[in-house]
Amino acid sequence: MLIAIQVAITLLVWQTASNGLIPKPGNVAAAFTRLLATKQFWDNMLVSLGLTLKAMLYSIIITLVFAYLSVLPFFKSIAQFMVKCRYLTLTGLIFIFTLLTRNGSELKLSLLVFGIVPFFVTSFLSVITSINKQEYDLCKTLGYNNWQTLYEVIIVGKADQVFEILRQNFAISWLMITMVEGLSMSEGGIGTLLIKYNKYNDITVVVALQMVIFLTGLCFDWLLGSIRKWLFPYTKYK
C-alpha cells in the first residue's frame, strides 16, 4: 500500500515537473509498449542477457578458484591484487583487450569478466575472512583434515553466500553491460540501442530503455533471491 502511494506520488511529480525536454510518464509508457513489440528490441535484449550470464558464469568460476586458493599464501597475494583491480578503468584497456581477442564478442566478454571479477573476489574474500573461527574448530574436533575442512566450511558452508554475491553483483554486471556494448557495438545489445537512441536525441525511448534495464535488474534480483532460498532453505532462518 505504502509503495503504491509512493509510486503514485512519484508519477504525479514526474508528470507535473516534466517540460518539453523531459518526456512525460504517459509518453514513456507508450514508448515502452512500442519497444516491447519490436523484434529488434528482443534481439538486442537477448544478446545483452546472454553476454551478461556468460560473463557472470566465467567470473564466478574464476572468483571461486582464486578465492578458494587464497587460503594458500601464494594465491592470497594474487587474490588481493585482483581486489585492487577494481580501480582500473575498462575504457583505458580496450586497445589491449582488442589486441588480445579475436572478435567483438570475445572483446566484450573479456572486458566484462575483467570488470566483474575484482568485485566478485572482493565480496568473496570478505566472506572468507569473516568466517567464525568456531567453524574451523568444530571441523578439527570432528577429526577433519584440511581438505575436508575446506570443503565443509568454505565450499559447502559458504555456497549460499556465493549465490548472494552473485545476486548483489548482478547489478554491477548489468551496469557494465551497457558500457561494454557501447565500447564495441559490433553485435548489438541493449547498450548499443541506448547509444543509438541517444544519438538521435530520442529521449522518450532512452527513458523507456532505462526502465527496461531497471525492471530486468529487479526481476533478476528477485529470481536469484528466490533460487537462493530454494537451494539453501536454512538462509530463511538466519
Binding site: 567464525n132 568456531q134 567453524e135 574448530d137 568444530l138 578439527k140 574436533t141 570432528l142 577429526g143 577433519y144 565443509e152 559447502v156 558452508g157 555456497a159 549460499d160 539453501f232 532453505p233 536454512y234 532462518y237 538466519k238
Partner: protein, 264 residues
C-alpha cells in the same frame, strides 16, 4: 563412602604452560584423571575445572582439546598418546553447529568419522536421537532449535564421533534453574552410559559443576606468582559427595563449595 576403585590413567596433563610474549597465562599445570570402577554399574568420570573468569580456563580447555599447543608441557591420553585435535569431543560454550546442515546431516557426518559405526550410522543416530529426545528435530536446522536442544545435538555429535572424552566449556552458562537441572541430568546420563566416558567440565558455576562431579580441580593464582596453576584437587568420592541426588542441600557439600570459593 561409596565403594569404588580408581585404576588406569585416562588423561595426564604434564607441566602445561602457556605464555603470550611476556605474559604467563598458565604455569606447571599437572593433573591426572583415572578410570573409576563401581561394582555392578557403568560409571564414567566427571571432572570439574573451576576457576574465576579470565584465569585461563578457556586456554586450558583449548589445550586439553588439542586445539591449541601449549608453550610447554603435554597432554596425554590412553597411555602416552599425545592429544591432538579430534581426539577429544568438544562442546563449545555456545553449542556451535554447522548452520547449513540439518541435525541429521550433522550427526551423520560425525558418525561417518567413526569406523566402529560403519554401516550402522543411521541406527545409532536414531538411537541417540531417541535417548536425547531429539527424534522429531532431526530434519531441522540448528537455527530452529532452542539452546538446550543445540547442546544435546552437540553432545550426540561428539559421542557419535566416538569420543570417550567430552570437554564442555561453561555448559551451565546462561541457563535458568529448570534447565540447570536438566543439563545436569543429561551430563550424568552421558557419564553413566559408558564406563570409559570422561566428562571434563570447565565452569565458574561452582555449585552446579561440583554437584555432578567426582573430582574437582581448582585453577587459580599463587600469591606473587604469575600464571594460573592447579591450586587444589578435591576428591569428592573420598568425601562421600559424589553421585548423589539432591546433594546441594547436604551440609558437607555446602562446606566444600565454600572451601572451593575461598581457594579462588
Amino acid at each position: 563412602m561409596t565403594v569404588c576403585t580408581k585404576t588406569t590413567t585416562l588423561l595426564q596433563a604434564e607441566n602445561i604452560g602457556l605464555q603470550y610474549d611476556d605474559k604467563i597465562i598458565l604455569r606447571d599445570i599437572n593433573f591426572c584423571i583415572r578410570d573409576i570402577h563401581r561394582p555392578g554399574m557403568q560409571q564414567g568420570q566427571v571432572v570439574s575445572l573451576i576457576g574465576r573468569s579470565g584465569i585461563g580456563k578457556t586456554q586450558l580447555f583449548r589445550i586439553l582439546s588439542g586445539l591449541q599447543q601449549p608453550t610447554n608441557g603435554n597432554v596425554f591420553i590412553n597411555g602416552r598418546q599425545q592429544v591432538k585435535a579430534g581426539d577429544m569431543g568438544v562442546i563449545f560454550q555456545n553449542y556451535y553447529l554447522f548452520e547449513w546442515r540439518t541435525i541429521y546431516q550433522s550427526l551423520m557426518m560425525s558418525a561417518k568419522q567413526n569406523q566402529l559405526l560403519k554401516g550402522e550410522e543411521k541406527q545409532y543416530i536414531e538411537k541417540y536421537a531417541a535417548d536425547f529426545h531429539l527424534k522429531e528435530h532431526l530434519q531441522k536446522y540448528p537455527q530452529q532449535l532452542s539452546g538446550g536442544q543445540r547442546q544435546r545435538v552437540s553432545i550426540i555429535q561428539q559421542l557419535l564421533k566416538g569420543s570417550k572424552f567430552l570437554l564442555l566449556d561453561e555448559p551451565f552458562s546462561g541457563l535458568d534453574v529448570c534447565m540447570l537441572d536438566k543439563v545436569s541430568d543429561l551430563l550424568l546420563q552421558v557419564s553413566t552410559s559408558d564406563e570409559q566416558n570422561t566428562l571434563i567440565i570447565v565452569s565458574h558455576d561452582i555449585s552446579t559443576a561440583v554437584a555432578i562431579s567426582d573430582t574437582v580441580f581448582i585453577l587459580g593464582n599463587e600469591e606473587g606468582q604469575p600464571g594460573a596453576i592447579i591450586k587444589r584437587e578435591i576428591d569428592l568420592i573420598e568425601r562421600d559427595l559424589a553421585w548423589q541426588r539432591d546433594i546441594k542441600s547436604n551440609p558437607a557439600f555446602i562446606k566444600t563449595v565454600e572451601e572451593i570459593k575461598s581457594c579462588l
